[in-house]
Amino acid sequence: MFSYCADPETLDGLTWLSCYLTTGKHMAFYGAFGTVLLLLAITAPTALAFGFGGASAARSSLAPLRWVGKAYISIVRGVPDIAFFLFFVIALDQGFEWLRHQALCPGWDQPVRQGNDFVVCQAAKLPLSSAPQWIHEVYGFFLAVLTFAIVFGAFAANVLYGAMRAVPRAQLETAEAYGMSQRQCFWRILVPQMWVYALPGLSNLWMVLIKATPLLFLLGVEDIVYWARELGGTKTPQFTDYPHGDWRMWYFLALLVFYLAFTRVSELVLERIMARLNHGQATSGGDAQRTTA
């Protein structure tokens, strides 16, 4: 990074540290914070969409759809997320490739499973093996987002399902009395009102999601924990210009600060959203705003 970093062995103190902290490897570490934030930013709305779909299915009047929705919610919630992460990415990847294989290579005569191998035709590979590395990484990232969304979608579905039931019955009855159809009742009355009941659950889910990101490295994404482990481990002079002992504690301390700070910021933002949602609602939170105003 800096010009004086050419020969780290001659450096000491702060200059050494400034060179050490700006190696390409550390840049990758700092970049990983961006990766985690990006993942959270994409996963949260996706998981919410999964949750909305799951909750809507679970309260559907169509029995098979209802079963699917309820099974999704209860099975995924019953399993530790770590167990999912350990085999889900490979399963998803194989599933996608198998579907593409069926669609793109109808004339393929060899079996897809050859012993232990999972082999699809070249055209069905995801991404194509001729694709540049960054496409592979984006695809891996996409799989990680999808896995997170499926797991946390089940929790979100559970929260939204409860929130939908918490909307006062009278509100829906009034809508019906006004001659609204089932669909209109759902979209115009139920959905806008359910958020205030869902927010406490959803904000906790957000906190859980933040704290699940250390498991990202299981999904093949090089996240902050991967780099903290890698950078913190003992480095012998043979393989690096910056040898040091076991510094994992300092790196993990940095992660701890990051997570605590992120939690605190989230708490403050969510409090503000809650205050806004409570505005004008016939709940105790809404009442409180009126009396203090």
Partner: protein, 268 residues
């Protein structure tokens, strides 16, 4: 080797009873189910003990957070913030590190670096923080009328807490607390995965699932078995907590009791 023999050999392997060596070939479905099931003993041990002990600390922390005394309030608030705001696996890392350092100070701390005690302490503190926040929320939600009625009847101090505040608090907190229990049991899989070392290949369910996935190079058998066990465990927890919920709400009219609803208000 029949499946019964496998159960005799490996059923208690996670405690060190039975075969000394883990299976090294012929990984039948029976072996995988039995050994992963044997590991569940540890998951249940960690979960159950942490939950029971954590319950008491959680009550104290909740009362501390609601207390007038600023020292108690700050202490409880920070305790909850640190343990709820950081990933469990980082807590495990620092705990193991701290226990190792303490071991150098005095041999009293020797057992703390072993998972059965060290990891239990982390899980105990962790669940106390999460449950403490749940109880604190419930404490704030106790209807004013209940407390006024208690005052009118002349209840004070301990009697008021024991007879009025505490039962109401539990009743309000119970659905969220059920979720916390479920998540605590799920979190026990992290103990050997990224926290504490496994001694003599005695590990929890995930440790053995991982072992089989590594030996067979096929993750699609052991992990679903693990998932199946946890779904069963979750159902049992929901059943037990549902019974307690019924008892807590037994004085209410039937319709108002309602079924326990699993709205995760506070989870990991």
């Amino acid at each position: 080797m029949s499946c019964w023999e496998v159960i005799a050999d490996y059923g208690l392997r996670s405690l060190g009873i039975g075969e000394r060596l883990l299976p090294r070939d012929d990984f039948t479905l029976c072996k995988q189910v039995v050994l992963i099931g044997s590991g569940m003993i540890w998951n249940i041990y960690f979960g159950a003990l942490a939950l029971v002990t954590g319950f008491f600390l959680a009550t104290a922390v909740a009362l501390g957070k609601a207390a007038r005394n600023p020292v108690a309030r700050k202490l409880s608030t920070w305790f909850i913030f640190v343990f709820r705001g950081s990933p469990l696996f980082i807590q495990f890392f620092f705990a193991y590190f701290a226990f190792l350092s303490l071991k150098g100070v005095s041999p009293i701390f020797d057992p703390f670096t072993a998972a059965w005690l060290g990891a239990l302490i982390v899980l105990f503190l962790n669940t106390a923080a999460y449950s403490g926040e749940i109880f604190y929320g419930a404490l704030q939600a106790i209807p004013r009328g209940d407390l006024e009625a208690a005052d009118a009847y002349g209840f004070t101090g301990w009697a008021r807490f024991r007879r009025i505040t505490w039962p109401t608090l539990l009743r309000l907190a119970w659905p969220a607390y059920t979720n916390e229990a479920i998540f605590l049991f799920h979190a026990t899989t992290l103990v050997y995965f990224s926290g504490f070392p496994a001694w003599r290949q005695k590990g929890d369910a995930l440790y053995y699932a991982n072992y089989f996935a590594d030996k067979t190079f096929n993750p699609f058998v052991p992990y679903p078995i693990l998932a199946g066990y946890f779904i069963l465990l979750t159902l049992v927890i929901i059943g037990i907590f549902g019974l307690v919920n019924r008892r807590l709400n037994r004085h209410l009219p039937q319709a108002a009791r309602g079924k326990i609803r699993f709205r995760p208000n506070l989870l990991r």
